[in-house]
């Protein structure tokens, strides 16, 4: 059962402490719980637990090979870095919270207006907003400056839509006196807080003296949600219903689940493998060490092994080796990966070649952790409208009662025939234009100069209204329920009675009007052909319209059918009460309303078909062609109709035209039909698999539903076989389902879209890309990457994705390489030191080696480019390498493993042979081996680097210089081997010889 809350308006005593106050808190920590909570979070990662265990073991002096500082130091450093980052983020959140919380707002207390801090607002308080104020919490409107009770809000912060939206006060408060608003009392019944910003199904009842016994339904239209701005309205007031973190905005703020890239998963697997290897080494050496101890070491009187050891004696040597080998898993890998990943993201943000010059929008990587995946994409699922196309709608053609306009010129607005019809006042055309101008939710805004601009949520509507205005039917003003239309300087007024809003299920919207002159009640509808044409009044010929729709779709135009009918008074009254009732239900309101709408929307008098052009974005066909050459498969998922979708698909290189390409269509309304179609398509696919032919399947939403439900196995096979697919008439959830399907076949998917209907698909996919386009920022918000234009996708994948993958592949394997190198040397050394677990290297060297000498040069590898950007763009096939994961997989890793083993043998062999006998002093030998490692790793980085920039030279050679400088300084302190460096310098060429020997 749904929970509810009752809000008592303006009551200072009742039920106020039931709900939280309006203090916004986005903070994860407080000062007191920061340390424990952050530590707990960090230690919930397996890797950190491992390092902690190692660090704790090192505190036992009997087994630690080196000073515990060598592990504690880096561990604390790494923890401090991530804790500091968290703390900074949290502090910033705290600051912005504080700013929001301490903002001063006017509220009513004990009937008096008072200025208080936003955080002190309680549920039930009446809050006053002035123009351009931001709503401090979710409010239900009570009154506005407008006598008709409307106000305008900007919801950009909430859903990214920049147009103004109308909000009205509930009918119960209509016409209330300004003074009375201070004293208003009542109760609002509303659902428990949720995060749905499109719905608010509540009821309101006012108490005497505001007698209005009816329960007044409230919708989202009666609310101003937190973070919205009041615009174009002098003031508005409302009652706080949700406050603090319980507002719609607060509830929808969630921490999204972190996405794991394929590379990360591979690194985790490799880490696991290394861990197993380490355990094996420890066990083998531990046993060998114990055996050696018992057979040999007992005879070595100078070691003074006691004959009887403590109970844990057997464990001592294995544990020592565990500690010696613990460096096999590089402690720095996570930190350096995080670091370079954020740099990849920064490169994307900075990229001047991915700036939309029209709007100045830069590309932005919201998710900084998944750049490598961009280079491994196999499937791209793309939305059509606004993604491939510009979403800049232009009214091009129309067909009104049998005659088509704009066929010759391609633009109905300049068609002689149309102009003539308008000037002669042909009734059909007039009615058509009226519907175009009125049947919408557009808000006309008159600027001081008298020019009218339109604010619309739907680009289609805006295009229609603009076109109507050009044909002299100007939608001039909308004040409250009255709509002014100016035709040829004569004013026509309508009263809007109801708006039956557009839903993606009904695929149409309608408006109920009352003609102010004649008093007639009219229904005007517009919608997709299949949701309008079947509901034509009996006897009307719809064939011409259907043909026109077909013809326009062939041209890749979007079609809308316009229709109207007159309503009888009784019919309307009866329906209106049903509609009201449906609108005030709390449960399943959406469904009930849709049902009621259906009852009115039938028996249409079809007026005509409007065709709207949506041009392809620049560079879309080239981008798709390049990416398809790079082995990426494209699926187009659109809500448009089949013929339009196919047309667009052809024009943007999705499929080659006829002889080379082939389209296989799956449709059908019944299971049998779909099944038969599916079988047929599968058969063709299997046969065609051998020949290089461009085959794509086309499926519509209805057939898809059936296929996914009953024939998911066959459909999955089809999905795997087919490189291209066009899915039309699909719903947002089907889009997400398709992503899920491909993901379940282990494909890397990228979903790209621009509108709210793509959000689910974007969130579902491995990588979500949002186009920050005209349908608002909703998709871009939800996405991992937002770009300004579709064509930037090419650069995003081929340049940024590919480089990121290459760089991370090198960096991660290199991290293991250098750790293994030093570890192998330690292991070899243990064979000549009586398998007793002596460390060849001292603590300082070990720590510096891991944290400093070897990590600095490799970090600049993020600047490496194996191939120029141009080369990659010209030969997109290069991406095959990344897709197949050829740079980071068990076999490349085995190569690095072998390399480190080989290098360790060389370094160790040369060291102990050239520093034998009288030169075999411990410190010297260790320094020689260490410098050998340093030279080798510099050499490996240099060999693996493809392009040397200044920074790379600086890091690689500077690091070598730094190594000697630091060791000189350390040696100058009268503690470690001072003369060793002198000795070593003269013998350095022998390293060179071996180094070059490795190629």
């Amino acid at each position: 059962m749904k929970m509810r809350r009752c809000v008592y308006i303006n009551d200072d005593n009742l039920a106020q402490d039931l709900y939280c106050d309006n203090r916004i808190s986005n903070r994860k920590y407080t000062i007191w719980n920061f340390l424990p909570k952050n530590l707990w979070e960090q230690f919930s990662r397996l890797m950190n637990q491992y390092f902690l265990l190692i660090a704790c073991l090192q505190l036992w002096p009997l087994i630690t090979p080196v000073n515990p500082v060598s592990t504690w130091g880096p561990l604390i450093f790494i923890f401090a870095v991530s804790a500091t980052k968290e703390a900074c983020d949290d502090y910033n959140r705290y600051i912005s919270d504080k700013k929001a919380n301490e903002k001063e707002v006017w509220i009513v207390r004990q009937g008096i207006k008072k200025l208080i801090q936003a955080q002190d607002i309680k549920v039930g308080n009446i809050v006053w907003l002035r123009e351009n104020d931001e709503a401090p919490c979710d409010l239900v409107l009570l009154g506005t400056a407008d006598p008709l009770g409307t106000c305008y809000v900007e919801t950009a912060a909430l859903d990214g839509e920049t147009d103004l939206k109308t909000r009205v006060i509930p009918s119960a408060c209509m016409g209330m006196d300004f003074e009375l608003l201070h004293k208003i009392k009542g109760v609002i019944e509303c659902p428990s807080p949720d995060k749905d910003i499109r719905r608010c199904d509540a009821n309101m009842r006012l108490f005497p003296p505001f007698i209005d016994n009816d329960v007044c339904p409230l919708t989202i239209k009666n609310t101003i949600l937190q973070s919205c701005y009041l615009r174009n309205t002098e003031w508005a007031c409302g009652v706080a219903v949700y406050t603090g973190n319980e507002t719609k905005l607060g509830m929808s703020r969630g921490v999204p689940e972190p996405k794991l890239t394929a590379v990360d998963a591979m690194i985790d697997r490799l880490t696991g493998a290394i861990f197993v290897f380490q355990i094996v080494v420890v066990i083998v050496l531990g046993i060998a060490g114990n055996v050696w101890k018992d057979t040999e070491a007992r005879q070595q009187w100078y070691v003074q092994y006691p004959t009887e050891g403590p109970w844990y004696e057997l464990l001592v040597i294995p544990l020592r080796f565990e500690l010696l080998c613990s460096i096999m898993i590089p402690i720095s890998i996570k930190v350096s990966l995080d670091l370079v990943k954020s740099l990849y993201a920064k490169f994307i943000d900075w990229d001047d070649k991915m700036v939309d010059l029209e709007t100045g929008t830069r590309s932005h990587a919201t998710n900084t952790a998944i750049s490598e995946d961009l280079g491994q994409v196999e499937y791209i699922l793309t939305d059509k409208t606004g993604t491939l196309t510009e979403n800049k709608m232009v009214f091009r053609r129309c067909c009104i009662s049998g005659s088509c306009y704009g066929n010759e010129t391609g633009d109905a607005l300049t068609d002689e025939k149309m102009l003539n019809a308008v000037s002669s006042g042909s009734p059909d055309v007039m009615q058509f234009l009226k519907v175009m101008a009125i049947c919408n939710t557009v808000i006309p805004v008159k600027s001081s100069s008298g020019a009218i601009s339109y604010k619309a949520q739907s680009q289609d509507e805006e295009a229609l209204v603009r076109a109507a205005a050009q044909l002299l039917m100007v939608f001039e003003n909308k004040s409250g329920n009255i709509v002014d239309i100016n035709f040829n300087s004569s004013l026509i007024q309508y009263e809007v009675l109801d708006i039956l809003e557009f839903t993606s299920d009904r695929k149409r919207m309608s408006i109920v009007l009352k003609d102010c002159q004649s008093g007639k009640i009219l229904l005007m509808s517009k919608g997709a052909d299949e949701s309008i044409l079947p509901y034509a009044r009996a006897g009307q010929q719809i064939r011409t319209f259907a043909e026109a729709v077909e013809q326009y779709a062939q041209l890749g135009l979007r079609t809308l059918c316009l229709a109207w009918r007159e309503l009888g008074d009784d019919e309307y009254q009866e329906w209106a009460s049903m509609f009201n009732e449906a609108n005030s239900t709390l449960v399943d309101r959406e469904w009930r309303v849709a049902e009621v709408c259906q009852r009115l929307e039938h028996g249409f008098d079809i007026l005509g078909v409007a065709a709207i052009e949506d041009r392809l974005q620049d560079g879309v066909p080239e981008t798709i062609e390049t990416l398809r050459k790079a082995g990426i498969n494209f699926w187009m998922l659109t809500g448009d109709k089949q013929s339009t979708a196919i047309q667009i698909a052809l024009s943007c290189n999705f499929v080659s035209p006829e002889p080379k390409g082939q389209l296989l269509i799956i449709n059908g309304k019944t299971e049998d039909e779909v099944c038969r179609n599916l079988e047929r398509v599968l058969l063709t696919m299997r046969i065609a698999d051998a020949e290089p032919k461009d085959i794509a399947f086309v499926v519509d939403g209805w057939a898809l539903e059936i296929a996914l439900k009953h024939y998911s196995k066959a459909f999955t096979e089809l999905a795997v076989l087919s490189r291209t697919a066009i899915c039309c008439r699909v719903t947002p959830s089907q889009k997400a389902q398709l992503v899920e399907l491909l993901k379940s076949c282990d494909y890397r998917t990228l979903a790209i879209g621009d509108g709210g209907n793509d959000v689910r698909m974007i969130q579902q996919a491995d990588i979500g890309v949002g186009i920050s386009g005209r349908e608002g920022l909703q998709a871009a918000r939800a996405a991992d990457y937002s770009i300004g234009k579709f064509r930037f996708l090419k650069r995003l994948i081929l340049v940024h994705g590919r480089y990121s993958y290459n760089r991370t592949a090198f960096l991660s394997q290199y991290s293991f390489y250098k750790s293994l190198l030093i570890c192998f040397i330690q292991i070899f050394f243990s064979f000549i030191s009586g398998i007793s677990g002596t460390s060849l290297f001292n603590s300082v060297s070990l720590m510096a080696y891991n944290v400093f000498y070897t990590s600095v040069p490799v970090l600049v590898h993020v600047l490496d480019k194996d191939l120029g950007e141009k080369t990659v763009m010209q030969h997109p096939q290069i991406l095959f390498y990344c897709q197949a994961g050829r740079l980071l997989n068990p076999s490349t890793f085995a190569g690095w493993f072998g390399r480190s083993l080989f290098h360790a043998i060389v370094v160790f062999g040369i060291t102990i042979h050239s520093y034998a006998l009288e030169k075999s002093e411990m410190e010297e030998v260790s320094m020689v081996a260490l410098s050998g490692c340093i030279w080798l790793q510099a050499f490996v980085v240099a060999i693996e680097t493809n392009s040397f920039t200044v920074l790379q030279h600086l890091a690689i050679w500077g690091n070598l210089v730094a190594f000697y400088v630091i060791n000189w300084i350390v040696s100058a302190l009268p503690s470690s081997g001072m003369y060793t460096i002198m000795f070593r310098l003269c013998r350095q060429p022998s390293y060179w010889c071996t180094i070059i020997y490795f190629r």
């Binding site: 986005n26 002096p61 912060a157 973070s227 703020r253 040999e296 070491a297 005879q299 070595q300 009187w301 100078y302 070691v303 003074q304 020592r320 920064k346 900075w350 990229d351 001047d352 070649k353 830069r362 932005h364 920050s772 050394f829 030191s833 009586g834 007793s836 060849l840 480019k865 096939q877 095959f880 102990i912 042979h913 050239s914 520093y915 034998a916 006998l917 009288e918 030169k919 075999s920 002093e921 411990m922 260790s926 493809n946 392009s947 040397f948 920039t949 200044v950 920074l951 790379q952 009268p974 503690s975 001072m978 003369y979 013998r987 060429p989 022998s990 010889c993 071996t994 070059i996 020997y997």
Partner: protein, 347 residues
């Protein structure tokens, strides 16, 4: 992320004029070395012709070293036991017995003229100075200054004597100090072995204190190696200093002293050895080494050999590449070699 700052971000994004820098655009000027055949071949040739001379000169330097190595552990304790095991135990018994006379006289032949300075080393084989238990058993702090006398925690099991007094110098390393001595004479003339300045200068000046005197050393029941003169500070006990520089390998040489006269070829050297040190329990070997040095140090062919080998391999590869290049040249950067061009059907 609260949507509040999302807005500020997007607005700042728009207002911020893209500041161009080569770094942010990843357009830093870079040199891209391509491994052309010419480059590879010339690199190999270069390596070859630099390495082989280095190798030859270090080989000849190593060759110029005159070195006398004499193993004396077995010959100095003669044993008439029949089998090896009995001999082993006989030797251990002999070396551990305080009363036996351990003097041993050996005669060595100088193969070539040896120029001074001539270094005298003792060489131990299979002696694990790098054993963890051993190498850790020392306290550098204690050796440095008399105040730190009590800092013997790391020295176990040689930290305190039987009266719980701290041992100076503590630890297994000091305790097991090598105590064989050599006296060298030619035709009855004793040749002095200079034992001054055999330890590292840094050890004498910094690592070991000049006011730290041995105390309670070798007073426990178990006696390891040499005893120390308690009136000489640690910094002047150079034998100890040399010994305390632990070796990383189980076979090692340590400097015993210097002979500052030339030795002529075919001189017969008589060495009187006090054979005190027990290497018999663990089958270790003891050698006396008398050697000259060159710039490369003592006798060590390894470096020279590896230089010559690598240089030779590089030259060989260079020649092989030249042949391949001449016989089967292929144009650089021919797109026909790209994998997807070779076999279009595979994709």
């Amino acid at each position: 992320m609260s949507s509040g700052d999302g807005v500020s971000q997007s607005s700042s994004k728009k207002s911020k004029k893209p500041r161009y820098s080569r770094f942010t655009q990843q357009e830093l000027p870079a040199c891209k070395p391509i491994l052309t055949p010419g480059l590879v071949i010339s690199t190999f040739i270069f390596i070859g012709i630099t390495f082989i001379p280095i190798g030859l000169s270090s080989l000849s330097a190593s060759d110029a070293v005159v070195e006398i190595v004499h193993r004396y552990d077995e010959v100095c304790i003669s044993s008439n036991a029949n089998d090896d095991e009995a001999a082993h135990f006989a030797r251990i018994g002999y070396i551990q017995d305080d009363r036996t006379n351990k003097t041993c006289t050996r005669t060595l032949n100088v193969p070539k003229k040896m120029k001074q300075p001539i270094f005298v080393y003792y060489q131990l084989d299979d002696f694990y100075q790098n054993h963890r238990r051993y190498v850790k058993s020392r306290s550098d702090e204690q050796y440095k200054s008399p105040e730190n006398e009590q800092k013997t925690k790391t020295c176990e099991p040689e930290a305190f004597n039987d009266d719980r007094k701290p041992i100076v110098p503590c630890g297994l390393v000091a305790w097991s100090l090598f105590n064989d001595t050599y006296t060298i004479s030619i035709n009855g003339n004793t040749i002095p072995i200079n034992k001054k300045d055999i330890a590292w200068r840094s050890d004498r000046t910094h690592k070991f204190g000049s006011n730290v005197y041995p105390k309670n050393f070798q007073t426990r029941g178990l006696i390891g190696g040499a005893k120390l003169n308690e009136s000489i500070p640690l910094s002047e006990q150079e034998d100890l200093l040399v010994w305390m520089r632990t070796a990383a390998l189980p076979n090692f040489r340590k400097l015993y002293g210097r002979i500052e006269t030339d030795l002529e070829a075919n001189d017969k050297i008589t060495v009187v050895i006090q054979n005190n040190y027990n290497t018999y329990s663990f089958d270790g070997k003891k050698n006396l080494v008398i050697s000259t040095t060159t710039w490369i140090g003592g006798k060590n062919d390894f470096l020279g050999k590896i230089y010559i080998t690598v240089g030779g391999i590089c030259l060989f590869l260079a020649i092989a590449f030249i042949l391949v290049y001449l016989l089967k040249p292929r144009p650089l950067g021919d797109p026909a070699y790209l994998s997807w061009n070779k076999d279009p059907a595979s994709y």
